[in-house]
Amino acid sequence: MDWQGQKVVEQLMQILLVISGVVAVVVGYATESFRTMMLIYAGGVVLATLVTVPNWPFYNRHPLEWLDPSEAEKHPKPQVVAKKRFSKK
């Protein structure tokens, strides 16, 4: 999953869970049924899981652009210089 996808996934997950929680409380209170509230919320959790946890293709639409190998060769890595030892006189 690319960076853009990760950001979308985090927001989607939170929004889906919060909305299903709010709907669950409202519907449950209106119908005076605790069970209804729990079922709606459980449904919301399952939906959020299916949407955000697997690595769906639409989360990979903005892949990172890695540097081309031919370009990398033109800019060699800096060499590690041997450390100078400072000795006390």
Binding site: K7, V9, L17, G21, A24, F34, T52
Partner: protein
């Protein structure tokens, strides 16, 4: 959010936290409900009143209990535990409470009832103080929620008394 496990963990944590919020809201909604329970108890008969073989006083009663606890039930109520206690004062104890009868009320339909029964639990005094004793019969109830805090209340019915002599 870079891996399956990471996302699964994040979702699990967030959903459990949200669940805790939902349950708290459900519990708080109980404070908005209007509650007016009522009850009445009559003593039909005092069956036996004796000293237990030179020990403590014991009474056996038949009670007629009428109660309407339907308004205690909300969407967040699991069950109501109700019990009747006899309360009186003795020289030794400022308050004696003896539980005579109890019941678990599972739902609203069973919460309005009238029952005639002898006391489920023995009414035994610590001593010989019950002759001519005046006592209160109190109906206590504990409302047990599905989530949240249990709360308890009672109705005190004064003015009952026992005979002056053993039967």
């Amino acid at each position: 959010m870079h891996s399956f496990g990471y996302r699964a963990n994040a979702l699990f944590t967030f959903s459990v936290t949200a669940l805790a919020f939902i349950c708290a809201i459900a519990s708080l909604s109980d404070n908005f409900s209007d509650q007016n329970p009522s009850a009445e108890i009559q003593i039909l008969n005092i069956n036996r009143f004796k000293k237990q073989s030179y020990e403590n006083d014991e009474v056996s009663l038949t009670l007629d209990i009428t109660a309407d606890l339907q308004s205690l039930f909300t969407w967040n109520t699991k069950q109501v535990f109700a019990f009747v206690a006899a309360e009186y004062e003795t020289p030794k104890n400022s308050l004696n409470q003896v539980s005579l009868w109890d019941a678990i009320i599972p739902d609203k339909e069973h919460a309005k009832f009238r029952i005639q029964t002898s006391n489920k639990y023995r009414f035994i005094d610590q001593g010989h103080n019950l002759r001519g004793k005046e006592f209160n019969l109190t109906l206590h109830w504990h409302v047990m929620p599905k989530t949240g805090k249990m709360f308890a209340d009672k109705i005190v019915m004064p003015g009952y008394s026992l005979p002056d002599a053993y039967k």
